[in-house]
């Protein structure tokens, strides 16, 4: 079975570790993990993952800026924002910029896998 290729972007190593653990032995494979928005853009260009899980609040280049740059490389990129911030403004900004979905932290393994499987119905 071909796995969905996932790239995770979060300044938190703990979150990257958790997501990698949650996706282990699933139909998803983490092909790249970055803790910095600018690096993530370069890595996206090289890896072209099926799904990008992108944190919103990061030092340096923000999640929205990173999203814009990824979409400039590939307007069809499937980018999902994963953030603890769930304000209407933040969700609206991300979705209008081009994010396909929004997941608020924290989440459990089951809810996360379910969310990812739902994504594959539209990705």
């Amino acid at each position: 079975m071909t796995k969905w290729r996932v790239m995770t972007v979060d300044d938190s190593a703990a979150i990257l570790t958790i997501i990698a653990a949650y996706l282990e032995d699933s139909e998803f494979e983490v092909v790249a993990s970055e803790r910095d928005g600018a690096m993530a853009v370069e890595r996206f260009a090289a890896e072209r993952p099926d799904i990008v899980l992108l944190d919103l609040i990061m030092p340096g280049q923000s999640g929205v800026e990173t999203l814009e740059r990824i979409l400039a490389i590939d307007p069809d990129a499937f980018v999902v924002i994963v953030s603890s911030l769930g304000t209407e403004d933040a969700v609206h900004e991300c979705l209008t910029t081009g994010a396909r979905s929004f997941l608020q932290k924290p989440f459990t393994r089951d809810s996360f896998i379910e969310f990812m499987r739902d994504l594959t119905q539209v990705a």
Binding site: S12, A13, A14, A21, I57, S84, R109, S111
Partner: protein, 281 residues
């Protein structure tokens, strides 16, 4: 006297020793079962379901009742029945001290009456202290949100003990995990935690033991603060504030004291450790 648990009150008054309190707490731990443990013991759920319920309870805002139903298939009546059993079997700290031979029933009752009266006064004082804060509604909601998440991240009973306004210097032996929330106004939410609580939070968060002071530990606790800060922004949006969190940070210095005029310090007790929740305004 600040708000505290009865065992700590007895200790602070010199009625019992620290060893006696620890022994009584150990007796409670052996006897008193959580609802999840009780449900396993009675065969309503298996250990895998118990782990899933606990993991969800720690990391989401779901009600325990909903998790029992969604994961274990237990209806609300069954959960109520478990609660009744739990209440009837529950050994309070006073009873544990009596059974361990550290206090007589009369001593417990006499001290409990004084304790309860002092607690009423302490709770009133806390309410008054919140009202005296600049923007008390915001302070109270952020502090309560932080305590709510700390309880989930540690699985410990956590109680707000005292509230004070001050300069915000970090206490000895603590590490600060903080996040700036910026927009219509600027405030910082911070957890000043001892190593013991930092380790516990990080371990529960990532799911495995981490070294004290390690990058993963610091990062995991920062992420917990990030969750508190993000949810605070979401909650305050309902009250008309537009705030966005900046990346959380950790320090053993006094930041953000230089930038902030003052802080509200909410001292909390978590089992036999203590920590501070601070809101800088």
């Amino acid at each position: 006297m600040g708000s505290m648990f009865f065992g700590q009150y007895l200790l602070s008054k010199g009625v019992i020793t620290r060893e006696a309190l620890l022994e009584a707490i150990e007796r409670q731990r052996q006897t008193n079962l959580s609802l999840v443990e009780l449900a396993v013991r009675r065969g309503h759920i298996d250990s895998d379901q118990a782990e899933m319920i606990l993991a969800s309870y720690r990391t989401t805002e779901a009600d325990l009742e909903d998790l029992f139903f969604d994961i274990g298939g237990l209806n609300p009546e069954k959960v109520d029945e478990l609660r009744r059993v739990q209440r009837s079997d529950w050994v309070k700290i006073g009873a544990a001290l009596i059974s361990a031979g550290h206090l007589t029933r009369d001593e417990v009752e006499e001290n409990l009456a004084v304790f309860q009266e002092e607690q009423r006064e302490a709770d009133q004082q806390l309410e008054a202290d919140f009202r005296a804060c600049k923007d008390p509604k915001t302070m109270k909601s952020v502090v309560e949100l932080a305590i709510f998440h700390l309880k989930r991240f540690t699985d410990r009973p956590i109680k707000l003990q005292a509230l004070s306004v001050g300069g915000g210097e970090l206490g000895p032996g603590l590490r600060r995990y903080a996040q700036k929330l910026q927009g219509d106004r600027v405030l910082y939410v911070a957890l000043d935690l001892p190593a013991e609580i930092s380790s516990l939070v990080a371990q529960r968060f990532v799911g495995f033991a981490v070294d004290d002071g390690s990058e993963v530990q610091i990062d995991a606790v920062c992420e917990c603060v990030n969750i508190i800060g993000g949810h605070a922004c979401t909650q305050l949006e309902a009250r008309g504030f537009k705030l966005r969190p900046e990346p959380p940070f950790s320090t053993i210095g006094n930041e953000p004291v230089d930038e902030a005029s003052s802080s509200v310090r909410a001292s909390v007790i978590a089992g036999d450790a203590s920590a501070d929740v601070r809101v800088f305004v």
